[in-house]
């Protein structure tokens, strides 16, 4: 536990400056005009820079915990919404640096006033907290004069075969993704941002996640999903700048200008029928996934990072990686070069009322053009993937993620103030 700055040490400090001085690498200074966030390797407790060319929480090595929330804007007043984004930015700057949500905090204010900070993260370090904001399609209506600024690529997702969406877990004008290595820190961040938003936004749905299911950095080992399989072996990694440029970041000319340096986030709450899966033979599980459960090696290969070879056949000329195997259908080769950056989490949300766990994967991905990347991939999976037998998509959201925040800027200022991103 090094590098983290316990919140208690900040009590009574006048301003944020002192705290930032102590946070060292977390000061979030721009190095040569580029974000340093992509070169930080959080090991657990330290802070991740909030400012940068891109928002943190995308290529940041995936933390262990997540609290995701989708919100609807309840005010019709554009100025109120902009004020909220400014207030959120200020609180996010502080919390990601390991400070309390606002000056005065949980115990430093007037005894007669409710505390400025809810207090459950007192004494906890920054825990690599990142906060990532996105705008849903529904924000771009008549209410705030944003209709002509809606990114054409911020599409309504199509209905995928086998979808079983619960309207109460779909959509949202805004989303906030909090990731941290301590669940208490992630929940604290969302709770305080929601509190700041009362009267202007309301929570539409939210999701807790644990045990990152993707590695987003070559410095991380590949974690396992609730099916017990390594998940994310072939994910785009933060170190692969070319792949990020090609598949993740909105580039000049992609349109609109305010989104340059941003990306699109797709969230899917995927219920896994773990009980039925657990009654399935190992051979069948491996055939469904297309990888060996132990090593993570593609079928027909020896080690996890051996390239998937879709052209190998076994006895009788049957493909070793079956035609309906998950890795085949999701592969760039099968999809004409399409890749996405996955950043999902496991979840268990109690029971389905029938004696089973309501458990699964909260799938989060980032891509440059959802209609050309996530949509064809999910269409291929939901129509042919043998794994669908064990899955049910119950929640869904699509959000435009604006570029990173500059010193002195605020979340989404490129959209509301017309500054170009990038």
């Amino acid at each position: 536990m090094t590098g983290g700055l316990p919140r208690r040490r900040l009590l009574g400090f006048a301003g944020a400056g002192a705290a930032l001085a102590g946070a060292g690498a977390a000061a979030g200074a721009l190095v040569g005009g580029a974000a340093s966030s992509e070169r930080v390797r959080p090991t657990g407790a330290e802070a991740v820079p909030f400012h940068g060319e891109h928002q943190a929480g995308i290529t940041t090595p995936a933390q262990d915990r997540m609290h995701f929330v989708a919100l609807d804007v309840t005010t019709d007043d554009r100025a109120e919404l902009v004020d909220l984004l400014r207030e959120w930015t200020a609180a996010a700057r502080r919390m990601t640096a390991g400070q309390e949500a606002a000056e005065g905090g949980a115990v430093g204010g007037s005894p007669q006033a409710p505390p400025e900070d809810t207090g459950e993260a007192l004494d906890l370090p920054a825990s690599a907290l990142t906060l990532t904001l996105g705008f849903g399609p529904s924000l771009f209506d008549h209410r705030f004069g944003l209709a002509d600024r809606r990114p054409p690529k911020l599409v309504e997702l199509p209905r995928f075969p086998s979808d079983d969406l619960d309207e109460r877990r779909c959509g949202g004008d805004l989303c906030l993704q909090a990731c941290a290595n301590d669940p208490q820190v992630a929940v604290h961040a969302i709770r305080n941002l929601v509190r700041i938003g009362f009267g202007r936004v309301r929570v539409r749905w939210s999701q807790l996640g644990f045990g990152r299911t993707s590695s987003t950095s070559t410095s991380q080992s590949t974690p396992r999903n609730l099916f017990g399989f390594k998940d994310g072996t072939n994910n785009i990694k933060a170190e692969d700048a070319d792949a990020l440029r090609e598949h993740v970041w909105v580039a000049p000319g992609d349109g609109p200008d305010w989104l340059v340096g941003g990306t699109y986030l797709v969230a899917r709450r995927i219920r896994m029928h773990v009980e039925v899966w657990d009654r399935t033979s190992l051979a069948e599980q491996e055939a469904v996934v297309g990888r060996a459960k132990g090593t993570g090696a593609p079928l027909g290969q020896l080690a996890e990072f051996d390239p998937v070879d879709l052209h190998v056949k076994g006895a009788g000329g049957e493909y070793l990686v079956k035609e309906d195997a998950h890795v085949r259908l999701a592969s760039a080769e099968h999809l004409g070069g399409v890749r996405i950056l996955r950043r999902g989490y496991n979840f268990t949300d109690g029971t389905d009322g029938l004696g089973h766990l309501d458990a699964g994967l909260f799938f989060v991905c980032f891509n440059r053009d959802t209609g050309r990347q996530f949509v064809p991939m999910q269409m291929a999976l939901s129509t042919k993937d043998r794994m669908m037998e064990y899955l049910e998509h119950t929640g869904s959201g699509h959000f435009a993620v604006p570029p990173g925040v500059r010193e002195g800027g605020f979340w989404g200022d490129t959209l509301f103030e017309g500054r170009s991103g990038g």
């Binding site: 075969p161 009654r279 060996a292 079928l299 006895a315 070793l320 029938l354």
Partner: protein, 373 residues
């Protein structure tokens, strides 16, 4: 649902994945380099012991090539396709018995290829073939499949006639009865590719652009939407598709492992589809399907029972006991010739049924391994 027809290949894959360890490293058992050009196929070593044999194929020619390992009669043991010029690709083949094999490179991916002899010696690694008891089991189950297929055809014909005659009450009464025969042999019926969605597809599951046809489309017309202009032609198509399923079901050759996996999959169906009331969302006759899935599972297990009894008596007893518990519970929901509607079930009813299915599903999931010992 995964079709049972693929379970066996999956089993051999498992061996591949599990045995691909140290023995495929260097030395006499190490990978065998294959140098493929446009007119030659140089295999560095032309003999191996039984077990996993690994080839590393490098294409040094100008044409895209393929590499094959053939058993006598050109039976494919393994192949790698689509090896572009300059690429090296790996092929691991599990060779279970000694014999004279052939390697082949196919520059341009056509023709018989450039052949070479390849000798495998050593002990056979294959488990003994299914014994007489298992052979009898598959025959017995095939008889069950045939009888259900006959019933499916007869009752679907009656159902379709009633739909086309506009006799809604009679059609409604026949709908769950015809489906009973379908649901009993569902894993078999499902192994015939596109026939399953055509006959049994649900509106929310079928792909965009694929027409909603079959039992559930007629169910929707009968219970919810009322007769449509194309209801009669949908009914005709259902009968055509069912005839095809019946013909294929009677010709299918099943293995004991497929029987065991089918028994498990039928209960998966119940656990994820029937228990939730998703399957028959317009008619709410889910318990008929439920009963039929359990019947089918029971029939597959019954056929295998002598083998299970002999190899794992405790499992056989457990399976019997859990089937009986589920049967007894289902019987309490009987209503005349059929069952109570799903909408007439309370939360506690559904929970009790779900628990009984889970209790049975666990031991059933162990049958396949016992059968494949």
């Amino acid at each position: 649902m995964p079709t049972t027809a693929r379970a066996l290949t999956a089993a051999s894959l498992l061996l591949l994945a599990a045995c691909g360890g140290p023995e495929t490293t260097a030395g006499a058992d190490g990978p065998i380099a294959v140098e493929a050009t446009d007119d030659a196929c140089k295999v560095a070593r032309t003999s191996a012991k039984t077990g996993n044999v690994t080839f590393e194929v490098t294409n040094k020619g100008t044409k895209v090539t393929e590499f094959y390992l053939y058993a006598p009669g050109d039976r494919i043991l393994g192949e790698v396709e689509n090896i572009g010029p300059g690429l090296t690709r790996r092929l691991i083949v599990e060779v279970t018995e000694a014999g004279e094999l052939q390697t082949a490179c196919k520059p341009g991916m056509k023709g018989d290829g450039i052949r070479g002899a390849f000798t495998v010696d050593g002990e056979a690694r294959k488990s003994a073939d299914a014994d007489a008891a298992l052979a009898e089991a598959t025959k017995g189950y095939q008889r069950y499949v045939n009888s259900q297929a006959d019933g499916l055809l007869a009752k679907t014909t009656e159902f379709v006639d009633a739909v086309k005659a506009g006799d809604v009450e009679r059609a409604k009464a026949l709908y769950p009865v015809a489906r009973t025969y379908w649901e009993r042999i569902e894993p078999v019926a499902e192994s015939f590719g596109d026939l399953d969605p055509k006959v049994d597809g649900r509106e929310d599951v079928i792909e965009e652009g694929v027409e909603f046809t079959g039992f559930h489309r007629l169910e929707k017309d009968l219970w919810q939407a009322g007769p449509q202009a194309d209801t009669a032609s949908i009914a005709d198509r259902l009968l055509t598709d069912v005839k095809e399923v019946v013909a294929k079901a009677k010709a299918v050759e099943l293995t004991p492992l497929q029987l065991a996996n089918g028994a498990k999959e039928l209960l998966d169906e119940v656990a994820t589809g029937k228990i939730t009331g998703e399957e028959d969302r317009y008619s709410h006759t889910d318990l008929w399907d439920f009963r039929a899935n359990v019947d089918g599972s029971q029939a597959a297990v019954a056929a295998l029972r002598p083998v299970i009894e002999e190899r794992d008596a405790a499992l056989a007893a457990t399976v019997d006991q859990k089937f009986k518990a589920l049967d007894d519970l289902l019987e309490t929901y009987r209503d005349g010739d059929g069952f109570r509607l799903y909408t007439a079930l309370g939360e506690s009813d559904v929970q009790a049924l779900s628990a009984a299915v889970d209790a049975l599903g666990e031991p059933i999931s162990r049958v396949a391994e016992v059968v494949s010992r």
